[in-house]
Amino acid sequence: MTQVNRLPGGLVDRSEEVKFQFNDKWMRGYPGDTLASALMANGQLLVGRSFKYHRPRGVFTAGSEEPNALVQLRRRAEQEPNTRATMIELFEGLYATSQNHRGSLEFDLLAINDFFAPFLSAGFYYKTFMWPKAFWEKLYEPIIRSAAGLGRLSMKEDPDSYDKGFLHCDLLVIGAGPAGLAAALTAGRSGARVILADEDFRPGGRLNAETLELGGMAGHAWAEEAVKELAEMDNVRLMSRTTVYGAYDHGIYGVLERCTDHLRDSNGKPRQILWRIYSKRAVLAAGATERPIAFGNNDRPGILLAGAMRAYANRYAVAPGKQIAVFTNNDDGWRTAADLYAKGVEITTVVDSRDKPALLNIPGARHFGGQAVMDTVGRAGMKSIQLTNGQVIPCDGLAVSGGWNPNVHLTCHQRGRPEWREDLCAFVPGSDLPPGMVVAGAANGAMTLAAALSEGAVKASAQLEDLGIKPKGGEMPQAEDEPRDCAAFWHVKQSKNRAWVDLQNDVTVKDVKLANTEGFRSVELLKRYTTMGMATDQGKTSNIAGLAILAEEAGKTIPEVGTTIFRPPYTPVPLGALAGRARGKDFRPYRLTPSHKWTEENGASFVTVGNWLRAEWYTQPGEKGWRDSVDREVLQTRKSVGICDVTTLGKIDIQGKDAGAFLDMVYANTFSTLKVGRVRYGLMLREDGICYDDGTTARMGEDHYVMTTTTANAVLVFRRMEFVRQCLCPDMDVHLISTTDGWAQFAVAGPKSRDLLRKVIDRDHDISNDAFPFMACGHVTVCGGTPARLFRISFSGELAFEIAVPARYGNSMMAVLNEAGKEFDAVPYGTEALGVMRIEKGHCTGNELNGQTTAHNIGLGKMVSQKKACIGNVLSQRPEMIREDAVRLVGFRPVDRSRKLIAGSHFITKGDTASMANDQGWMTSVAYSPNLGYSIGLGFLKEGQNRMGEIVRAVSPIHNTEMEVEVVSPHFIDPEGERLRG
């Protein structure tokens, strides 16, 4: 194809050509083109299909408000649906396809919807498709879903990377049009820290699209100079291809920078960066968006907004056709006629809804004052327009201007309400702006170039003064106050054919009227019923017209009907960018235990526990499944000795004269009476009396305790203890610091554990049962002087110790313990074996202490002291929480010992039907006990303490199974605890 629609001049670089493909057709454009301008240059006016009726559509705007020209950019895993052709910078080899059609773009089978349009009026689907009932999911909905939607995801992992960042500034200037540049220049020259962000790849805004002059310079040339000056200032950061998409609390803005989208390849760099900009003040200079007028068949390819057509002509040097008509209700539309004429394009007609003399003299153009375009002809491209006076005028392009709407979007992000300005026929920012923000230029209703420039400088100066910065250099060049008269004119009543209000979602004037007839009279109800403004453009070009028509129908004024406010984001933001680096393995950090390396080298499988990776079991040669490994680890530990890295348990260093009293407050049981050199099991409640955490706390010195928490709750317990310390006991001398990562801690469990440790602990420490009995603790040294802490505690129920060394020695310590243990056939064991042994002993973990469990439920009700102030003791005594028939933790074993218990089974009394009403409790944890040779379980059973020996049914309808189980003590092994005291 050749560039049949290319005009002379423009801001494209004609020194080289760029080749690209659209729907597999090769075309050419120039650097500086967008895909939209390049397609137009090549005469490709048909670009896409509409959402509902699959109407042929072409480029309608020249910016991010584009409703029609959405394409799929790139291919394979890089395919990016719904991309606005107006925002795609042309690059060599660009590949794009049209979307939302079945069959080719030119012959879309779903265009049949257009013929059925009478049956597809607003909300039709709420009134039908209800019979027969089952057909909704099976028939109607799949048809609707496959026809709806727009572009397609590749369904492959996004191959690009994304990054995020944080920026700080005194003044954020949003938009680099005339007002934004004036604001940034003023602030930059005054020495403030400035960020200037603009969504375009060429700063300048409308200056690049117009022929207006500043101080005798072409607008775009002045913008270039301004940008050059700003770029040289250290205190100014210029960010083009950067959209400020959201205004959040306290001056934080959400910002998307597109780094490599304009390149063929991202070369391993992040494709986009999501910036959080912390601004002390902001100037919103986002300009204005033109809006169309609704008339019959106003959606054809070749019909563009007038300002957009002017931008294409002036900036990109293209026009959609050779004979252009202009339809306007304002002065600005005339400039399109004048600028295109100046570029050598024939202007056939200027239709002005205002009955006024011609504003400008456009040679060859006929002027129709007080008339309107009523209809158009030409399915795939414009052929002619018909005026309200009946006249038919041939043309192959139509520029429409219904006036301009200030881009107030960001002013609404904190629920600010725009206000109606009658003289502009538009909403302007209200008084309830996000704190710190001011609005300047067209975004604020300052519609002329001179006004925008001066307002940009003045508003920036005021913001600087507010910050205590003396503004200087705010003088801006002379510019024009061009005529901007506008008369409200929303839709052409004489039109008989459908007139589109929302192009993308196919909402017509009739739909708006129908919604009003049916009582959907709030603008919010209108939106929801008709889907107006809900498409990817969020109604940037359609909302106001819809509102105006609703107002007219309801006999109200526009301000009476109100407006909908805008919510973030200003333009859509890729989910990949919002996620940044946090995906795949980098979703969250990994925490590794100190012995991770040794563990990895010795056959461990790993399990994720919170952010930790822990050894689950160690596979030995010849072991066929995980059970082989776990059974071996359990048996060997109980027979001789096993070693497990338990570093993940939270460790909190508690020091201070009031440390004991503080722990009395935190724990349900008492710690102030604990002797130095001793450890105690502690139960922690929430204030609502429910068990929160448990663990052991050791008294290492008079004023020094060391607490352990569960792995899962380490951070939460610390937080809560700080709350108690600072808010409830502010006068206690107590200090907390986490040492979880500082100590590598190992459980050494089993009858040979003392023998093993004797080989490692330096000889001057006596760890005999007398000197170091059950629940003793103390400082020792290991391997010739390395400091360590030793605790005589047991989770397995065996004679056991936990030994902690500084984490740097953890990996070495694991190796040493295993080496020293060789003569005892010591085994390293993982979390599974740990779990089996704790179930054999009836100890609780997260499955039991799940935040719903009382101390009473686990048989520890008496541990909750009622003799002191402590968290949770009062509310733990509420009547429903201490009922005799509440569920109790008990043990279970299958009557048929060969059966495997199922965690999550519910208990039903024998003879009762299995139903929720007869539910007696549930199984929390199960394991195969290699010591007992059968499956065992822990669970909560109603009044379980009184039901020992009873046979109940453990039902698991989800597995379609049930079995009889016997209620037993939860202490399956060594119930008297003789081993751990040995």
Binding site: E137, F587, P879, G904, H959
Partner: protein, 416 residues
């Protein structure tokens, strides 16, 4: 006017000129048997069931804004009954059964789509908890199904099974779960109630209660005083504010929950999917948008908007389980005010003031409860005794210690 495919055809052929108002716009009358405060989903469904099931039609629904402007107008449209506790599960299953006949009952297509809901699990502990929950669901007459990673890989090949930080081990399905077109639910109930004689009064804000000798006899509104034999609060996020007018402090905090929708896409997701190791759940609307959300922002708020950290957290969760959505774009986000209760479960109860009733505390899960909430509230209002599925949803349960705490997070609303 009765809606049907035939009517759509007929109107289509005659220029769509015969459609009439979906509901009346009546002026408030001076007194009613029952005044319902709040024209959101729950208020409208209460009115509908009062009329349909209990024959009480001298009812007004007072709505401060436009009907359906509360959380029914902005939510992520999920319906499900996959609860665990006896205080909840029968209620939500009752709701599910009402959903299944909703369209025929209201003569309005609210697009109840039982496309399934899947909760992924990533650890053995989570699996055990899901087995317990699945069994509770089955024991309560709901449906449930467990799927292992192998099955999921076949059904949902686009999830990240091989490179995940928290590997997907399986999931709990409720095939009867799914989504519904949220606005249409409100409109269907509104039409159904209106056609049975209920007055739905929009733009009518309650400004106070008339309380005489411990008995509530009516309300003050922006459109005058209205007397009523019974007054029923049903105002979700505004519960605290409205109850304060009656001098009540509630076990509720108002928090902001953000929700999100992407640009329209051709069909990608079969049903609802929730991530078990992060804050993310998602479904796809009939129009093609991915509708998703995650955690509440976490601080008390009536601002109806949230902040960036949660937006990012949610999208991180999304990319973590389905990295193929990276090039889909977030189109719109919004924030709703959630009546977060102290145990994450709701209240349908009388208050200590005679004639004044309370329905609230739905947290971020009120949408799925819309039918049963209305039905059970209507039951309570009509008979002065709780519906059998809602007996635990009492305001005094924190005094007795009979909490309904599904998550086990305790008395901290932002953790539920």
């Amino acid at each position: 006017m009765r809606y049907s495919g035939f009517r759509v055809l007929k109107e289509g052929l005659t220029g769509n000129k015969g459609w009439t108002k979906a509901w009346r716009e009546p002026e408030p009358r001076p007194d009613y048997d029952i005044v319902i405060i709040g024209g959101g989903g729950h208020g409208l469904s209460t009115a509908f069931y009062l009329a349909k099931e209990f024959g009480i039609t001298n009812v007004a629904v007072l709505e401060k804004g436009w009907l359906g402007s509360g959380n029914i107008g902005r939510n992520t449209t999920i319906i499900r009954s996959n609860y665990m506790l006896p205080g909840n599960e029968p209620f939500y299953e009752f709701s599910m059964k009402l959903w299944e006949n909703l369209e025929q009952e209201t003569n309005y297509n609210s697009m109840v789509s039982q496309r399934s809901i899947l909760n992924l699990y990533h650890t053995d502990g989570q699996r055990d908890a899901y087995v317990r929950r699945a069994n509770a669901m089955l024991l309560a007459g709901a449906d449930a199904e467990l799927a292992d990673a192998k099955q999921l890989r076949q059904e949902l090949p686009f999830l990240d099974y091989d490179n995940a930080r928290f590997p997907i081990k399986g999931g709990l399905y409720q095939r009867r779960g799914g989504t519904a077109r949220h606005d249409a639910v409100a409109w269907g109930y509104a039409r159904g109630a209106d056609s049975r004689g209920v007055d739905i009064i929009q733009n009518c804000e309650v400004t106070g209660f008339q309380i005489e000798n411990g008995t509530c006899t009516g309300v003050e509104t922006s459109r005058g005083a209205i007397r009523a034999k019974k007054v029923a609060m049903c105002v979700a996020g505004s519960s605290g504010r409205v109850a304060a007018m009656a001098g009540m402090r509630l076990p509720i905090e108002s928090h902001v929950l953000q929700a999100f929708v992407s640009e329209g896409l051709k069909p990608v997701l079969p049903g609802v999917i929730t991530f078990g190791a992060g804050h993310f759940y998602v479904s796809q609307s009939d129009k093609g948008g991915l509708v998703f959300g995650g955690d509440i922002d976490g601080y008390n708020s009536y601002a109806q908007r949230g902040n960036l950290p949660v937006v990012e957290d949610v999208c991180e969760g999304g990319m973590a389980i389905m990295p193929m959505i990276g090039r889909a774009r977030l189109l719109r986000s919004w924030g709703g005010v959630m009546d977060m209760s102290m145990d994450g479960s709701p209240f349908i109860d009388k208050t200590h003031i005679d004639g004044l009733y309370f329905n609230g505390g739905w947290c971020y899960g009120g949408f799925k409860a819309t039918p049963a909430s209305g039905f059970c509230y209507a039951h309570l209002l009509a008979k002065d005794e709780p519906h059998p599925t809602a007996t635990q949803m009492r305001l005094d349960r924190f005094m007795t210690g009979n909490m309904i705490d599904e998550k086990g997070s305790g008395n901290q609303p932002n953790l539920h």
